[in-house]
């Protein structure tokens, strides 16, 4: 599975016109043919495509992600340097969108077709239609430039010398806007799925039974309706974590956060094949891990999944 991902990435980058040396020569504003040739030799770009692919795989087998030609540093170093920022951004955004989305979804789904439901549903639809880069820019203009409550960009105050709790607080402040920009849009999605799941559950027999038993409305909403509607939401959480990795490219650029997405963008424009493949491999592993966790959570939520004895 990972193998296919790597080969496809390699071929895709290979099919793009221009190579790492072209990109580098442009960035320095010129050079001559001998420089280009010696650089191609140094980067191994003078070898055939298959030879390079084979070389990459043989080093990957020993967990060596190779050397980034655009940055002149080991790929693993670059990835480890940027990964924590992206995980922090994505993790907070996912938690916020999931938490807020499902909570508001419960509010909306508790009384389907009520005024509250209609307002929330419409609002979420509008929110979902907003592109994340636009939302990011607007948030930045309103809260950072006009009101100056929060910093415009960056992951922390530069060269501040802060440490410990003060630094954590500083990072948290820097994350508020990018996390909001990323989370609000996905929150809308979670809200809608939760709400429709609940609306459907209200019509089912077991809910009718619970009502006829005389259970309180809040108990029915939380224990019976919401719990059932939560299942598709958890499935979607797994899918969205991958999508959010993609969405973070834009948000990381707008808010100047040195993360994974920006690294990927720089790798593509620098035609840096080892770096891009390293990023893809790590992202793929990341998504696989998230989905593994999701499966376990799923089993915990739904007793029908993962029962030890076979069904009749």
């Amino acid at each position: 599975m990972l193998l296919i991902v790597v080969v496809l990435t390699f071929l895709l980058l290979e099919s793009a016109s221009g190579d790492a040396v072209d990109a580098y020569l442009l960035s320095i504003g010129g050079g001559d043919a001998t420089v280009a040739q010696s650089l191609r030799q140094a980067y191994g770009l003078d070898q055939s495509m298959l030879a390079r692919l084979w070389l990459y795989f043989s080093s990957l087998a020993t967990f060596d992600l190779g050397w980034s030609v655009a940055f002149g540093r080991p790929v693993l170093d670059l990835i480890l340097e940027r990964l924590p920022n992206t995980l922090l951004l994505m993790g907070s955004a996912t938690a916020l969108s999931f938490g807020l989305g499902s909570a508001l979804g419960i509010v909306a789904g508790a009384r389907p077709e009520s005024l509250r439901d209609r307002v929330l549903s419409t609002a979420s639809l509008i929110l979902y239609a907003i592109p994340s880069f636009w939302l990011g820019l607007v948030l930045s203009i309103v809260f950072a430039v006009q009101l100056r409550w929060l910093p415009t960009s960056g992951i922390e105050t530069i060269a501040s010398g802060k440490a410990g709790f003060a630094r954590a607080l500083d990072i948290a402040k820097h994350l508020v806007l990018p996390v909001s920009a990323l989370a609000l849009i996905y929150m809308a999605l979670f809200l809608r799925v939760m709400r429709s799941g609940m609306a459907e559950a209200w019509t089912l027999d077991f809910v009718l039974f619970a009502r006829s038993k005389g259970l309180s409305r809040s108990r029915i909403v939380l224990r019976h309706v919401a719990r059932n509607a939560l299942l598709p939401l958890v499935t979607m959480l797994g899918l969205q974590s991958a999508a959010m990795l993609g969405g973070s490219v834009v948000i990381e650029s707008i808010f100047a956060i040195p993360g994974f997405g920006r690294l990927a963008q720089e790798a593509v424009s620098g035609r840096d094949a080892p770096l891009l493949m390293g990023i893809i491999v790590v992202s793929a592993v990341l998504v696989i891990c998230v989905n593994l966790i999701i499966d376990i959570v799923y089993a915990a939520l739904d007793p029908r999944v993962g029962a030890s004895e076979p069904n009749t």
Binding site: A16, S17, G18, D19, A20, D22, A23, Y24, L25, L26, S27, I28, G29, G30, G31, D32, A33, A42, A70, F71, G72, E81, R82, L100, A123, I126, L127, I130, L137, S140, V142, F143, A144, V145, W149, L150, P151, T152, S153, G154, I155, I158, A159, L169, A172, K173, V176, S180, A183, L184, I254, F255, A256, I257, P258, G259, R262, L263, S269, R271
Partner: protein
Amino acid sequence: MTIANLSRRTLLQAGGTLLASTALPTVTLAQAGSRLIVAADSEPKNLNPAIVASNGVFFIASKVVEPLAEASFDGKDGLAPRLATSWEGSADGKSVTFKLREGVKWHDGKPFTSADVAYSALAIWKPLQNLGRLVFANLEAVETPDATTAVFKFSKPTPLQLIRNALPVVSSVVPKHLYEGTDIATNPANVKLVGTGPFKLTEYKPGEYYRLTKNADYWGKGEPKLDEVIFRVLPDRAGAGAALEAEEIQLAAFSAVPLTDLARISKVPGIKVISKGYEALTYQLVVEINHRRKELADVKVRQAIAHAIDRKFVVDTIFLGYAAASTGLVPKNAPEFYDASVPTYAFDTAKANALLDEAGYKKGANGTRFSLKLRPAPYFNETKQFGDYLRQALAAVGIDAQLINADSAAHQKAVYTDHDFDLAIGPPVFRGDPAISTTILVRSGIPAGVPFSNQGGYENKELDGIIAKAAETVDTAARTELYKQFQKIVATDLPLINVAEWGFITVARDTVQNVSNNPRWAVSNWSDTALKS
């Protein structure tokens, strides 16, 4: 209920929740004694200006590593001394003697001597540097009779005028004791710079910032004025403007604030917009022509294209006035060489049509004469926008131009290696002397793969002869005269078409003092830049 207030309400709710969690209503800006924070948009892999003489590298590295001399508005020969205090050429053009500054120390405490200059010139500028290869092609030896004298010896006559004009760009001196006997290309000092400049590079956080701190042992009296310069990496085009308004940074150079934002941001109190300080690094908007294409090999067709372009419109609409119309290959900002008396091509659609008819390319039934492949370079908004404009301008004279947009690496390969274009739009740079990076645009015999060079297959023996002669004409007046002829031939024969020339824009807070006080300000050492509190 409108979209605007609906989303704002939701945002405020969410924002409020988040704010409560961080429990701090305002941002306290860390404002150290005199720390200048500047927007940077790129992080060069190799930060050594002795190897990579590019503006992206100079922007940061010029504060740390110094050249022999810097460009100046009012200095002798347009130069201000830095590590060299004087320079003199011999009558035969085969040697140049530099007197070097005394009492200069490297950031690691070792003394700076003529040996460092000799080493930098012979081991780096001549064999490795992108521009130095050309300027120092005939450099044979550097003699060092004493610690403050360096005598450059050339195998062929080399004009002092060229050396002088090139000094600010090609002569960054690096310490011999850190480079000798190592692999220069991978030397760690290429990233952790050690220089003689007013600032030391003390910290680099990839993707975030470069931190430069004051060099207390700097040779300039009372300099630098700042304690710290921080280059903060802001990759998004809107980021620099927002950070300036929020007072998180104090300066954005190289048009980091897009032209379209300037009108608005110039009205913000406390912010100034400055268009000075880029005179020695003029960018030129040029239509590159592939002369292998039959129609374009005809000078009448090239003249017609030149007449079809409304330069005033380009300057006013695409550059919003922050540019000047070009007359030829040498920009007005280079008064030493500029010749205004070259043939020019006024905007005249009727004349363009007549020239094309004359050349034998009559309009077909659908109103077009022939089709062309047009590739605008993607490096600047303005080059892309000019591509859109040129397509329309050519359509008005019956030439159907098909736009092909690509990213940087792909554009570079298509135009400069594969020659897969008919017309291309490029932004070459004029660097103080035509021999540095301008004659290469029209000279023949350049191998494929060299960016910003003549890859259109143009060949003109007369022009090649003048370029070769100027390269070894020692007398300044005679050499200047040759370049005037050079401009005339280019303007007559149109191997390429110059449309406009522009410098960049600096946007700064009013507190930043001594901004743009030399013609290469953004890439100079900023030793006299100060912050008023």
